[in-house]
Structure formats: structure tokens, C-alpha cells
Subunit: 218 residues, 2 copies
């Protein structure tokens, strides 16, 4: 119980900082997404492929979250897009305070249209921490179980879109995409679902059109 | 800072309960492992294959941890082994208190030789919560990045063994097993590493021999 009360207090403080971040993002005129998944679902590669497709037409920036290392920031920068890294140390999620430290950096980059925040690889805690983003997007890969939406409902409930990634590997797994869709929609009927492969390029067009549409460029 | 102090207090209390669990496990004469990975690395399937191979020769029980559902408990029970489910609700990890509630159930099953605890799918927080187990075992699959040990070092540091799973999928990914081994050993040179495929059976013999060896049956 003590843990829950302390948790509520931390989340309330987080929500206040998130509201300030949201106002700052809005002032910069950008649309922001918070990408959440377990480690290894392919978030960073999805960002790389997204940046390659729309990075020239759409001014974007990327915030990378990891416990340690700047490996992901370096990967994104190699695609020619500005990126910054938040290393969280022992924390299993980004929080609004950490993200608030990037706002001056974002102001230096303006004009921006799209901000992609890649959260720490974790399907649980990031769902509870508002960062000030416009939209949470859940990512899962076909090498995970298709029952994940039932076992980790919070993130599917909190997200507006779901990317089912690595579809090229489907033939080698017992993952059933239809069942995954049904499970995800049972948790959140409003989810917009994309099926992508960063290896074959399948579905990346729809995903990128969706993102640029959100920035008002469609 | 407040969050860190509260966290330290929670972890201290957890360690006290974990010590009591460890004494109870020891009194039951069983060897216990705490399996930790991100969602979708194949922990539950690894448990199913392990139970099929050694469940007749070695008396074992399984504790399943998930946020929601009893799906995993039911999967393990179908393999003919007693299992119980801890559903954690919003908590992203098992803790010693939750596990303490299973001890009466374990006493009713004795004699037992091996207890497998499958933690909630999360590569971060479970590393910090001692459950009273004899050994933490990290699991990662080849569909995750081979840089995971560098990005999530705590769990690789806290574990005595690492299972690199789904090796049958290696040809379809850019996962480099040698690099994964090097990265894992850079974090923890004492890690005992297994390479397994629950589809082809590769490496399961070594893994099962290791487990039964720990129970003194080798």
C-alpha cells in the first residue's frame, strides 16, 4: 500500500511536468510519438527505416531512451537526423522530467514537424508515465507471443496505434497475426494497427503516411 | 532522490522476505531458479520443453508470473507438472512477498527437487528483486539485438546463466551469436551460456543437464 501511495505521488508530479512538456512541444509546432515495446521488437530499426523514408520531406528529431550506451542515438544520427540520448541508469522507463531536459535542444533545431521518442525497452512501466507526447505507439514483433496484448494490457490500452513488426519472420514462428489483432482490439477497439517488416519494407508506406498525416502534411 | 530513498527502503524489506523464502526453499530441499527476460524471448516454451525432458526424472514445480491471465500456468500444467500463477496487476516484476504466498503450496507438493520461477517479462526491474531463488537465469532470443547485454547490463550482471534462445531463427536475422556472447561476458565473465532452440531441440540437453546437475542428480 505504501508503495502504491508513493507511486501515485510520483505519477502526479510526472503528469505536471508532462503537461509543461506538452505545452512546449505544442509551441514548437511538432507532433510527438512515444514508441513503447519490449526490448528487441525492432523499435530502433523501425525508426531508421522511417527516417530514411520521410526524413527529407518532414523535419524530424529523435529522442532515444536506454539504461546505458549511446548506441541507438548513433544509429539514428547515421541516417542524417538529429538525435539525443537519455540514459536512465537503473530506471526502466523514461519520465517527463528526463524528457524536459531535451526541450532546449529541440528549440535549437526548429522548425520541427515530428518528434519520435523511443522509450526504454519495457512493456510495463512506460505505459504509466506520460512524457507530454501526442500519441503512444505500441510495437510488438511476430517473434513474441500473439497473447501479449492479454498479458500486458496497459500499454495496448494506453496506445493509439500498434505496429506488429518483423512480419517477414511470421513463416518461421507460430505467431498468428489475426489472433494478435483480435487480442489487441479486445483490449483497445480504437487501436490503429500496422503490420511492418523493416527487412522487406512491407507496410512501411502505410506507417509513414500515417505519421506524416498526423503532422498535417497528408 | 525521494524516489531513490523510497526504492532503497522497499528493496531492503524485499531482501528480508527473500531471505525467509530462501530458508523455506532450503528446508524443502529444492534448487530454485528465477528466469528473467523481456516478453517474447520464449521463457514459457523453454519451461515446457524442459519439463517434457526432465519432469519424469526430477520432481519439479513452476511458478508463473504475469500481469494478467493464467495462460502460462495452464500451458505448464498441460505438460503434467504442478504450476501456480502469480498475477501482479500493475507491477512489472515479481517480489519476494508475492512468492512467499506460494510456500504453503510448495510444502503440499514435497518432495521437490527443482523450482522454476518465470518472472514477468521485463529485462529491467526483476534484476533488483531477490525472490529467495538460488540462481537467476537471463534469457534472450536471437530476434532481439545482440547488443542487449550492453544496454540492459543489470540482469546479465545479476544472473549466473544466460540462455540464448530461438537459435533456429538466426539465419533470418542479423543477430551475431558470437558478438552476443562477447557482450554478455564483458558484463559478467562468469556467465554460463547456453544456446537453445525449442523448435529443433538444439542445446536443450546441455541446459537440462545443467539444471539437474544443480539439484545434485548429475
Amino acid at each position: 500500500m505504501h508503495e502504491i501511495l508513493v507511486g501515485a505521488k510520483i505519477l502526479k508530479k510526472n503528469d505536471e511536468i508532462a503537461a509543461a512538456n506538452r505545452e512546449a512541444f505544442s509551441g514548437l509546432g511538432l507532433f510527438s510519438i512515444n514508441l513503447i515495446s519490449s526490448p528487441g521488437s525492432g523499435k530502433t530499426t523501425l525508426i531508421e527505416r522511417t527516417v530514411e523514408r520521410i526524413g527529407k520531406a518532414c523535419r524530424l528529431a529523435v529522442i532515444e531512451g536506454d539504461l546505458q550506451t549511446e548506441l541507438d542515438k548513433e544509429r539514428v544520427e547515421r541516417c542524417g537526423v538529429p538525435a539525443t540520448q537519455i540514459t536512465t541508469g537503473r530506471s526502466c522507463h523514461l519520465d517527463a522530467h528526463m524528457v524536459s531536459h531535451t526541450i532546449e535542444w529541440l528549440r535549437g533545431l526548429k522548425p520541427l514537424e515530428l518528434l519520435i521518442i523511443e522509450n526504454v525497452g519495457n512493456m510495463v512501466c512506460p505505459a504509466e508515465y506520460d512524457l507530454g507526447e501526442d500519441m503512444k505507439v505500441a510495437v510488438m514483433s511476430v517473434t513474441e507471443g500473439d497473447d501479449k496484448p492479454l498479458k500486458y494490457p496497459a500499454i495496448f490500452h494506453a496506445s493509439s496505434a500498434l505496429v506488429i513488426n518483423k512480419t517477414d519472420l511470421t513463416p518461421y514462428t507460430d505467431f498468428n497475426i489475426e489472433r494478435a489483432r483480435e487480442n489487441a482490439l479486445a483490449v483497445n477497439p480504437a487501436l490503429k494497427i500496422f503490420e511492418t517488416s523493416c527487412t522487406t519494407g512491407e507496410g512501411l508506406g502505410d506507417w509513414c503516411d500515417f505519421l506524416t498525416g498526423q503532422t498535417g502534411r497528408a
